[in-house]
């Protein structure tokens, strides 16, 4: 049942998925030509962030267009918990799909191979933190009221990215990072999972009390 709900999210935005897939394939290759020094990291981070949040926005838009569809789902013997969890799984699957696409591209284009293992882990943490706040807010306030959050996120992402790049270079040189690299990576991953678990529990609680009209 959960699988069907996730599948439904992909199906209702299938047009945009094809579009984002094309962007994910073309964007890093384009960066090899336009910004070769940071093509790998820039390409991976931006394509992942945009794919997740753009597709999530399109799903939310569709749910807003057809409010009776979610009412019907909850009128069936489908737990509201699964309806919420499917959104989180949808985002996580897009993240892994982006990792996979970028991995294949790195294999084909050696210029993209500057992305080390820690970038996907830290990006997963960043995505988890943003989703962890955004999804419960969206369940509480609705799509219309939280659209602004998404616009701010998209506008701020280049600045946050530039700042994160600086932090990454200083982290690379720090002794702490060199000594405890594995622990820090494992810690980041565990924090990401915990954030998603707590966030989904909050979203489920909010959605269970929602008035579906």
């Amino acid at each position: 049942m959960l699988l069907q709900l996730v599948k439904k999210d992909f199906l209702i935005v299938k047009k945009y998925i094809l579009l984002m897939l094309a962007v994910c394939i073309i964007f890093p290759v384009f960066l090899i030509w336009s910004a070769p020094e940071n093509a790998g990291i820039l390409g991976f981070v931006l394509m992942t962030v945009f794919s997740i949040f753009m597709l999530l926005q399109y799903v939310s838009l569709k749910e807003t267009q057809y409010p009776k569809a979610s009412t019907l789902l909850c009128a069936l013997p489908i737990s509201r918990k699964y309806v919420v969890l499917s959104k989180y799984i949808f985002c996580i699957l897009i993240y892994f799909a982006c990792c996979l696409i970028f991995g294949i591209e790195s294999f084909l284009f050696p210029q993209l191979r500057f992305v080390k293992f820690e970038i996907p882990v830290f990006l997963f943490l960043a995505v988890s933190l943003v989703l962890g706040v955004y999804l419960p807010l969206q369940y509480k306030l609705g799509y219309e009221k939280t659209k602004l959050f998404f616009i701010v996120l998209i506008m701020a992402s280049p600045f946050v990215f530039a700042q994160s790049l600086k932090m990454k270079y200083s982290l690379d040189e720090s002794l702490l990072w060199q000594e405890y690299r594995v622990i820090m990576l494992a810690g980041s991953f565990i924090i990401s999972v915990l954030v998603l678990l707590v966030s989904s529990a909050i979203s489920i609680r909010i959605y269970k009390e929602a008035d579906l009209s």
Binding site: M1, Q4, Y66, T71, C74, A75, P77, S79, E209, L212
Partner: protein, 290 residues
């Protein structure tokens, strides 16, 4: 007959509207029409029954089980049809069906295919290409393909042409033929209920006005037509809804014997459900057009 659905003391408050102590029950083997004008509280009541909206207080029991504690088990045995279907228009019929079917333990794929064939629905067709009538038929195919015992429908006939409404009523009759089942459907198109309902529940301004067997209800009211000279304040007390013209008056009464005695020359006609519904609406919303 056992009650298939029981609602007791249901209360729910919104800023401008509230359900007040809504109580009624549906006996097994009956098609029950839930009538009321737009905004009377039909949809809110149905959504409270289906646990789609939190209630302030009250008890809902379906198949003898409490909805608050047995929601999943109860919903396995319900067939749901919402106004306009409640589908994702981007999906094909098969894609939507896959999602709905995954929720039911007793989904019958053969039954579903039979309904699609009967309604001339193409499983590959996208939902946004279906007409309103086809959407309703598709909604019925989904609601009837998992051996549902109680069919709950919210305004199923709204916006449908007479032929499709007639076909829908036929399907409901077939559904009831198997026995031990029930249909509860809300509508403001009462002519459909004239043909098919066994029981009627009326709601107005969030309160239940009556619950009664349709034939007994229709038998207890009469439309009275008489001369204006016979009309006076004493007579007026016997009527519920009076429309006076220069030549005469038309009214509805529940006090048939008293009217017959007081106005032996008046003409009495059996009312339609709509006439009874309108005369039971409180306050300024009344329409004196009978």
């Amino acid at each position: 007959m056992e009650n298939i659905l029981e609602v007791k003391g249901l209360n729910k408050t919104y800023r401008n509207f509230s359900l007040q102590d809504v109580s009624f029950s549906l006996p097994e083997g009956c098609i029950t029409g839930f009538i009321g004008i737009n905004g009377a509280g039909k949809t809110t009541t149905l959504r409270s029954i289906l646990a789609l909206t939190p209630k302030a207080s009250g008890e809902i029991r379906i198949f003898g089980m409490d909805m608050a504690t047995n929601e999943k088990e109860i919903k396995q045995r319900l067939g749901i049809v919402l106004d306009d279907g409640g589908f994702y228009d981007e999906l094909s019929l098969t894609e939507m069906k896959d999602m709905v079917a995954s929720a039911y333990k007793s989904w019958d794929e053969n039954e579903y295919k039979k309904y699609l064939d009967r309604f001339f629905l193409n499983p590959k067709q996208r939902i946004n290409t279906l007409s309103k009538g086809m959407r309703m038929k598709y909604a019925l195919a989904l609601a009837l393909s998992h051996k549902a015992e109680l069919l709950i429908m919210d305004e199923p006939t709204s916006g449908l042409d007479p032929l499709i409404r007639c076909q829908l009523l036929e399907i409901l009759k077939e559904f009831m033929e198997k026995g031990g089942r029930g249909v509860f459907f809300s509508t403001h198109i009462t002519s459909d209920l004239d043909k098919i309902a066994d029981m009627l529940v009326m709601i107005d301004s969030g309160r239940i006005i009556f619950q009664q067997d349709k034939d007994i209800l229709l038998d207890s009211y009469r439309i009275v037509k008489g001369d204006r000279k016979d009309f006076n304040t004493n007579i007026e007390k016997l009527f519920m809804n009076v429309n006076q013209t220069a030549f005469g008056f038309t009214a509805i009464t529940k006090r048939v014997d008293e009217v017959r005695k007081a106005m032996p020359d008046s003409i009495m006609e059996r009312p339609a459900i709509e006439d009874i519904m309108i005369c039971n609406i409180k306050g300024e919303k009344k329409c004196y057009c009978n």
